[in-house]
């Protein structure tokens, strides 16, 4: 019979108190596992692995807002870029791929964000080494749409489903008349793409109000480039078409846009929320980023940097606070074990004396008490880790549905590996004083008592 068996028997003798103290440790460890794994999952979703572009190009403004809006589809756009700028980027030899992104509007059903883009978006993987898997077709006609997995799941949409958009955002009550048709459904990616509806960029501009009046567009172009690409004659021609279209619109009662869709939107009237860019070499991305910092007209943002800052400055601090709180809970649980064992010592003096009379050394009875503490702490630790990961596993589908974050229940934070040595130290600390009480037991007195 080894010391751990003897310790286990003593623990079982005090089953209720032992179970409660063990449970308190396991709850503390479970909370810590949830905190560590939870933040690891968040970091993973917002890390370098979550985007496959070197730069996000957008109008001047908050870089964090630009990334959150265009990559993670959170919050409002910073502003718009002229479409001509996208054309110029296509000609830039440093740039390997540039994908136009236009944000605005949400679906009428479920309020999922609408992103106008091109088929190029789906050719580039959503993360390094991970490519989009589309069930269905890619964009063919202007009013084609490809939807994320969560959109399909939550709205119950299938290929061929037709839907309308709400102008501006969920709080708006203006529903566009144009109907888009689902022609493809993305496999789950665990990214914001799952909760996004992608529409053909051409169709996006054909929606009423999505193309700028030509005079306003020219003004913006001059502000941006310092000149305009159009002659006054070309401007007048487009303006004339605008007036004719408006007249036709009012004559038809304002709700038939068929004529509007008959022609292609002039490029001057188009703008973009952002351009996703891959460069040929990393140094080129760094140079472009530096160029934007020198007051250039658009900002070139490394998508990782603002998120890293956010993670380090805010999320990191929250993580530290949560980590400390859960550490305190574990320490308090340890104190619970100490109280439980220490309180039992007066009842167990005779047991200890009997063991000593049977030849157990002082160190042996000290070790038995320490083994009890270690068993309680480690059992609590193992239970806590299992409970923590079990809870993450159980809630993973819900988190994926509601937050669009891909949850890997087996995500193990390196800090979890330190838990067991830490629990061993805690067990030694809390078992030391009761162990010394056992060590110092006066055998003759205890046997006579």
């Amino acid at each position: 019979m080894n010391l751990f068996t003897i310790a286990y028997k003593s623990i079982r003798q005090r089953a209720l108190a032992s179970s409660l103290t063990c449970l308190s440790v396991s709850l503390g460890v479970m909370l810590m596992v949830i905190v560590l794994s939870g933040f690891a999952i968040v970091e993973k979703n917002f890390s370098q692995n979550s985007i496959n572009y070197d730069l996000i190009v957008g109008p001047k403004g908050s870089s964090l807002q630009l990334i959150l809006n265009t990559v993670y589809r959170i919050g409002d756009p910073v502003g718009n870029l002229p479409y001509r700028f996208y054309r110029e980027m296509q000609d830039d030899p440093r740039i390997k791929v540039s994908v136009p992104i236009a944000l605005g509007d949400v679906t009428e059903e479920g309020s999922f964000k609408i992103v106008g883009t091109t088929t190029e978006y789906f050719k580039i993987g959503y993360a390094p080494g991970r490519s989009f898997k589309v069930a269905g077709k890619s964009f063919g006609t202007a009013f084609d749409a490809i939807i994320g997995s969560q959109v399909a799941y939550q709205n119950g949409w299938e290929i061929g489903h037709k839907f309308k958009l709400v102008h501006g955002g969920a709080e708006s009550d203006h529903v566009h008349d144009e109907e888009f048709t689902v022609i493809g459904i993305l496999a789950p990616t665990g990214t914001a793409n799952d909760k996004t509806v992608f529409v053909n960029l051409e169709g996006f501009y054909l929606i009423a109000g999505h193309d700028k009046p030509v005079r306003e567009a020219v003004k913006q172009e001059i502000e941006f480039f310092g000149n305009t690409s159009l002659t006054e004659e070309q401007i007048a021609k487009i303006e004339k078409a605008e007036i004719e279209e408006a007249e036709a619109h009012s004559a038809e009662g304002g709700h038939d846009h068929a004529h509007h869709h008959a022609h292609e939107t002039p490029e001057i009237k188009k703008d973009l929320t952002a351009i996703f860019v891959q460069t040929h070499k990393p140094i080129q991305a760094a140079l472009l980023e530096g160029q934007s910092r020198r007051g250039y007209r658009a900002q070139y943002v490394n998508p990782i940097r603002p998120i890293s800052r956010l993670m380090n400055n805010i999320v990191g601090n929250i993580r530290t606070v949560m980590f400390m709180m859960t550490s305190l809970i574990i320490i308090v649980s340890g104190v619970g074990i100490f109280v439980s064992i220490y309180n039992s010592m007066s009842d167990r003096k005779k047991e200890i004396a009997v063991m000593r009379a049977l030849g157990a050394r002082r160190q042996t009875v000290f070790s038995i008490i320490l083994a009890e503490s270690v068993l309680l702490c480690l059992t609590g630790g193992v239970l806590g880790i299992l409970m923590g990961h079990g809870l993450i596993y159980a809630s993973a589908p819900y988190i994926e549905r509601s937050a669009g974050i891909l949850v890997d229940p087996l995500t193990i934070e390196p800090l979890e590996f330190i838990l067991f040595p830490v629990l061993m130290v805690l067990a030694t600390l809390v078992g030391f004083i009761p162990g010394m009480t056992a060590y110092r037991t006066d055998v003759a007195d205890a046997l006579a008592g």
Partner: protein, 225 residues
């Protein structure tokens, strides 16, 4: 010679600071396999004698030699090891561990010795004391007589050379008393174990050939147990 006490003196410090002599034994010997009763009244120092012999309590002076080894020359750890290997203990209140089954209590008797027995051997010992049907019962599930039988089996688990029994029948009824004594004595004969049994009961003492009155050779005449 199995046990030899020479010039044993033991005293305790009183709250007043004075020393209270408890034991003052010039000489006491027990041959290998011999069975003796140490008869004495309560407070006569019977338990202190057993504690000194077993090495639980160190005497102030004198020597305690068991199986050729003077245990007073050993450090505490040495005395613990010696006790675990050579001495069996049967207590007045049995002192079985309540969390352990009968067989586990017997196993515990050899756990701290260098030659631990296995479950089969422990079960065999319990069978020898008539408890093969109670192997997995906890002390609380057994009668007083059965508990004392487990205590006897536990005392034999480390194959001792000397068995110390402290009023082993004081807490059992008359019907069990003779059975327990018979069991202890027969086990000692079978395994060639020397037996020192301390009691205040003349009735128990009458069953032994050798009866030593503690008051006759303990010159201290203390009033402690």
């Amino acid at each position: 010679m199995s046990l030899s006490l020479k010039n044993i003196q033991k005293s305790y410090r009183e709250p007043s600071g004075n020393r209270l002599p408890v034991l003052d034994i010039a000489s006491y010997e027990l041959e290998r396999g011999e069975q003796a009763v140490l008869l004495g009244s309560s407070g006569g120092g019977k338990t202190t004698v057993l504690n000194v012999i077993s090495g639980i309590t160190a005497p102030d002076s004198g020597s305690v030699t068991i199986d050729g080894i003077d245990i007073t020359k050993l450090h505490e750890v040495g005395r613990d090891r010696f006790r675990a290997a050579k001495i069996g203990f049967v207590f007045q209140t049995f002192n079985l561990l309540p969390a352990f089954s009968a067989v586990e209590n017997v196993l515990l008797g050899s756990t701290f010795a260098n030659r631990a027995i296995n479950r089969q051997e422990a079960a065999s010992l319990l069978k020898s004391v008539g408890l093969d049907h109670r192997l997995d019962h906890k002390p609380g599930q057994m009668s007083v007589g059965e508990q004392q039988r487990v205590a006897v089996a536990r005392a034999l688990a480390n194959r001792p050379v000397l068995l110390l029994a402290d009023e082993p029948t004081a807490n059992v009824d008359q019907s069990n008393q003779d059975g327990i004594l018979k069991l202890i004595r027969e086990a000692c004969v079978e395994h060639e174990i020397s037996l020192m049994l301390v009691t205040h009961s003349q009735e128990v003492a009458d069953q032994f050939d050798r009866v030593d009155q503690l008051s006759e050779f303990n010159r201290a005449g203390a009033t402690t147990s």
